[in-house]
């Protein structure tokens, strides 16, 4: 098979992967929107440079505290990994984690298809 043929055969697969990736991102955003509707919108108020200390944990609503406590323990994790600890659905944890990102308590990093959430303790000087 010529080089051009190989590239052509890979292209549709590549496009499909891109579509899937974009759909996953869209899905996460929709989960956040659903959560905004479900809970009080005030919870989602963003605080630039917010610190996830124990007093902040105490003042959080129960559903977010559970997720935040788990990420505190895990350090760096995907929604799937957090869901294994909290025994809640991955989609639910994904929504809560994204809420915590919006609120400024967590950072999110995407590596390939996986999104990793973590507390950026070192950069919060």
């Amino acid at each position: 098979m010529k080089k051009n043929d190989i590239l052509l055969s890979r292209k549709p697969l590549h496009i499909l992967e891109k579509i899937k990736e974009n759909l996953e991102r869209l899905n996460e955003k929709m989960e956040v929107m659903i959560e905004i509707q479900r809970h009080d919108k005030k919870e989602l108020q963003a605080f630039p440079d917010a610190s996830l200390d124990v007093m902040t944990l105490l003042s959080m609503p129960d559903h977010l505290r559970k997720t935040a406590m788990t990420i505190c323990r895990c350090g760096r994790a995907t929604a799937q990994e957090i869901a294994q600890h909290t025994k809640r659905a991955r989609a639910v944890e994904s929504a809560y984690l994204n809420q915590l990102v919006l609120m400024g308590y967590l950072k999110k990093e995407r590596i390939g298809r996986k999104a990793y959430f973590f507390i950026d303790r070192d950069n919060q000087e």
Partner: protein, 258 residues
């Protein structure tokens, strides 16, 4: 099973440090590798109880990010537990250090929580410790809540004092429940604790008021007061009833009977 245990109380003077040290010594006596850390930065006392006044390394430096936990932990000089199984991380008693630790902001406390949480990896996993005990300061101090969040089990030392009972029950309800922490209560300095009727009454009252399991009931021993903090009973008085109670609590913790 490896564990991080925080020993906490609502009020001061409930016997928290004595409980922490003797529990740590009891676990070490049973062949476990134990680290006891003094997180009471406002009133450090572990250095004095363990007779390690000449220490030059302090847990403050670890939490400040100026040192590693391996450099901070020191072997204790115990007799019974002298096989190198009990290590201590001491809080700096210098006035300047106490003032410095009292003036930390939320961001520092957040990083301190991260450093306490990382002990699970550095001590329990990498250095093969079996237990880490946090001796905390009483009440709702930042350092104490950090310790509670980082722990697997919280042992609450309390007395029959009315204000202690009220405060402890509120603390359990409004703090511990929110963090979903496994908790056990040790009722300390109990008068007439050897009477069976008294034991039953206290057991029932603990269940009703605190709604957490009773880990141990410690009578008020005059010998403890007379020792004036010079003795670690588990080590120095192996046959004393107080030592037996500490050993029973240690066994319950080991068997995860909470």
């Amino acid at each position: 099973m490896k564990k991080i245990i925080a020993v906490h109380s609502y009020k001061g003077g409930t016997g928290k440090t004595s409980l922490s040290v003797n529990l740590a010594a009891s676990l070490a006596k049973r062949g476990r590798k134990v680290a006891i850390l003094d997180l009471d930065f406002r009133a450090p006392s572990l250095f004095s109880i363990l007779k390690m006044e000449k220490s030059t390394v302090w847990l403050n430096d670890y939490l400040n990010g100026a040192s590693t936990i391996s450099k901070i932990l020191q072997k204790t000089n115990g007799k019974v537990v002298s096989n190198g199984k009990l290590f201590a991380g001491l809080a700096n008693p210098a006035t300047e250090a106490i003032r410095d630790m009292s003036a930390k902001d939320r961001k520092w406390e957040m990083r301190a929580l991260g450093r306490l949480l990382s002990l699970r990896n550095s001590l329990l996993k990498e250095q093969d410790f079996d237990y880490i005990l946090f001796d905390t300061s009483p009440g709702l101090q930042y350092s104490s809540i950090n310790a509670i969040v980082a722990a697997d089990l919280v042992v609450v030392a309390t007395t029959c004092d009315r204000s202690d009972v009220d405060g402890t029950s509120r603390m359990l309800r409004e703090l511990y429940n929110l963090f979903e922490k496994k908790t056990g209560v040790v009722l300390n300095k109990v008068l007439d604790a050897n009477l069976n009727s008294k034991k039953e009454e206290l057991n029932k009252r603990i269940k009703d008021v605190y709604q957490v399991p009773l880990l141990g009931l410690v009578p008020c021993f005059c010998e403890l007061l007379k020792a004036q903090g010079n003795l670690i009973f588990v080590q120095d008085r192996p046959n004393h009833p107080f030592t037996k109670i500490m050993d029973e609590i240690a066994i319950r913790i080991e068997k995860d009977e909470i």
